[in-house]
Symmetry: C2
Subunit: 381 residues, 2 copies
């Protein structure tokens, strides 16, 4: 995909120049009107100059909280930004640093801001989850509420997406951490899992492996390489997750508790070197087949579910962002099967790190570059 970046680089510059204001200024119309299969859209850049932005959350007053992977949390409001203080110690190494941000579902009453991040310790880093109350430009009383059970190298595959279930618990993904894929199959290890926690970090009593000897009680599902897209709905028990394969094997899964999604034993992925199969089998009883494999490679990042009628033809669709693919894939589901797809934003913003539906139904995108941006997709009538 290097060739793709080579090719699209100059293009984005051309568009930026054509749009009027200098590239980097914000807000700025990046694409005034773009036709898609059912929906004309506009793309607006709300903020630029973000260093490897990883996630965005929406404040009730219209502000955006954006994490920058090197370890900063930015409040973007009316085109200006304020760095938020009161963060924990964060280890920015390789894929690690400050990662996801998510507000407590009843934020106006409980103004907790949740952050996932890489924490340094003996043996490397671990994924941690913490929360602080947003007070002005600070997180007050930040507390670490979960730390992965093992610190390891080499600083890859943190997973780290946060999503809330309607019962007030939260899901947190952790990747296999890159060096020992088999950790994803070990119930005694948090790596390569989707976890479920109470809002204070404690373990819900009805988690599927609670009480099983040797199992980490936070585990909700296992056999995941690196979930970096996670969204709940429609309906209380529907969890969609996208995860990275090494080469191929980028999966969309519907997550059910206690199930094993296969990595690294059962996988559709291929070896980087010679394209030979990865793992023991492409499918096997006792392991969940993905709902879908994204081909060609997507390198899935943020995942959004379209829940409103702001983009009427997209309602109920998943929007899966792609790092390597530098596009969004609009995924149409019917009876649990992917029946149609459309590419969006190909060549417009570069590598995509996060895709979210805002509270007003518009779609927000973060680009994953050293000079990253926060973009909004708006319908054009």
């Amino acid at each position: 995909m290097t060739k793709f970046r080579q090719l699209l680089g100059p293009l984005v510059a051309v568009l930026g120049a054509a749009a009027g204001p200098a590239f980097g200024a914000a807000p700025e119309i990046v694409v005034d009107e773009m036709r898609t299969q059912y929906q004309k859209i506009r793309v607006v850049k709300l903020a630029g100059g973000l260093e490897r932005p990883w996630a965005v959350a929406f404040l009730p007053d219209g502000g955006y909280l954006v994490t920058e992977r090197p370890g900063r949390l930015q409040l973007v409001r009316d085109g200006a930004r304020t760095e938020i203080g009161g963060l924990p110690e964060i280890t920015a190494i390789r894929q690690g640093g400050l990662l996801d941000v998510s507000l407590h579902p009843e934020f106006e009453r409980s103004p907790w801001v949740y952050l996932s991040y890489a924490k340094g310790g003996e043996g490397g880093t671990a994924l941690a989850l913490g929360r602080g109350r947003l007070e002005g430009d600070r997180l007050a009383g930040f507390e670490e509420i979960f730390v992965q059970d093992r610190f390891s190298v080499p600083g890859r595959h943190y997973g780290s997406r946060i999503a809330w279930l309607p019962d007030g618990t939260l899901l947190l993904s952790i990747g296999d951490r890159g060096a020992e894929p088999a950790r994803a199959q070990d119930l005694g290890d948090h790596a390569g899992k989707l976890l479920r926690l109470n809002a204070d970090g404690s373990v819900p009593a009805d988690n599927p492996f609670v009480g099983r000897e040797g199992a980490q009680p936070e585990i909700w599902s296992l056999g995941h390489r690196n979930i970096q897209g996670l969204v709940v709905g429609p309906g209380a028990d529907v969890i969609w997750a996208t995860e990275h394969g090494p080469r191929g094997g980028d999966e969309l899964n519907r997550i059910e508790p206690a199930l094993n999604y296969g990595w690294p034993i059962v996988s559709r992925a291929r070896q980087y070197g010679d394209e030979s199969p990865y793992g023991e089998a492409r499918r096997r009883e006792g392991f969940e087949d993905p709902v879908y494999e994204f081909l060609p490679t997507l390198a899935p990042s943020g995942l959004a579910l379209v829940t409103t009628d702001r983009f009427p033809a997209w309602r109920g669709n998943l929007l899966a962002g792609g790092l390597v693919a530098e596009r969004i894939r609009r995924v149409v589901l019917e009876d649990g099967e992917v029946v149609h797809e459309e590419e969006l934003l190909l060549g417009v913003v570069g590598r995509i790190r996060d895709v979210r539906e805002g509270p007003e139904g518009l779609i927000y995108v973060l680009s994953d570059t050293a000079d990253g941006g926060l973009y909004r997709i708006e319908p054009v009538d």
Copy 2:
């Protein structure tokens, strides 16, 4: 995909300018070196200024025969072109005109050039197949050896790819002709079928529907909307075909004689208007499931099989060109299943009409524009 063309248009111009010679001159290096997953490639433009080129065939002396849909056959050799005379009357209307070109498999002994084309008649057009002997810059003794049984409007879905089987018979695809999809299910109608003919246009006695009352004896398989990619191998009985769905439903099929590939009853396609399902079911017993559905939309055109070691990592792969998608999808098969894909040439040449492996193992591409080009993909060591 309109947005895609909008975006990529300026890019191609930029590259053309950067490459040195004026765009349109040939031969010209379009991309000097492009990294792909396993193979560095160069893209060279061998000829420009071709009007809606549709197909390319390779002469033993190194020349290329290129059809132009308006009704011309060009001989391209050493950067110069010569229009070949002696063609039949051809009706250029909508998707119709001069379409595929293919040489007799023993061309040096039997210098027949086969052409598929739209032929006008009462009621509209029909797909015809004919052949003439290449003598200098003329086709001598051109004879029509097959004409579709019914002339119809509106000039769409001709199919029309030609491929040779190792037994010396040829396959010819015919689309459903656009107005009455149900024709693809009618054994009494050539439309929506893959046909098998002897080299002189007569019917092979071992065709599967020979002797069945009311059936056209040329039929090899049925239920096809519009096969425009067709290649044989590896092995004598392996036939790969790509066909267009209306929206989604772009299929890769492995063709077996007498089987029904479903269109328009069983299809993965969606309606253009509201994305609702097309046809009665996505799968049904008695109808062949495609090996693969290309998502997002490809609009499949030419199809090549990589048979040599010129691109070692691609050997055995299919290269499926795309009109709407403006790229090639490299398709890796294992045990009859698509296990990996890679995008090639995204944004480099625009809409792709044909993809072929040349006799020396290099890959040739035609771009589908009013100022189309013949391109060659070469490995860079």
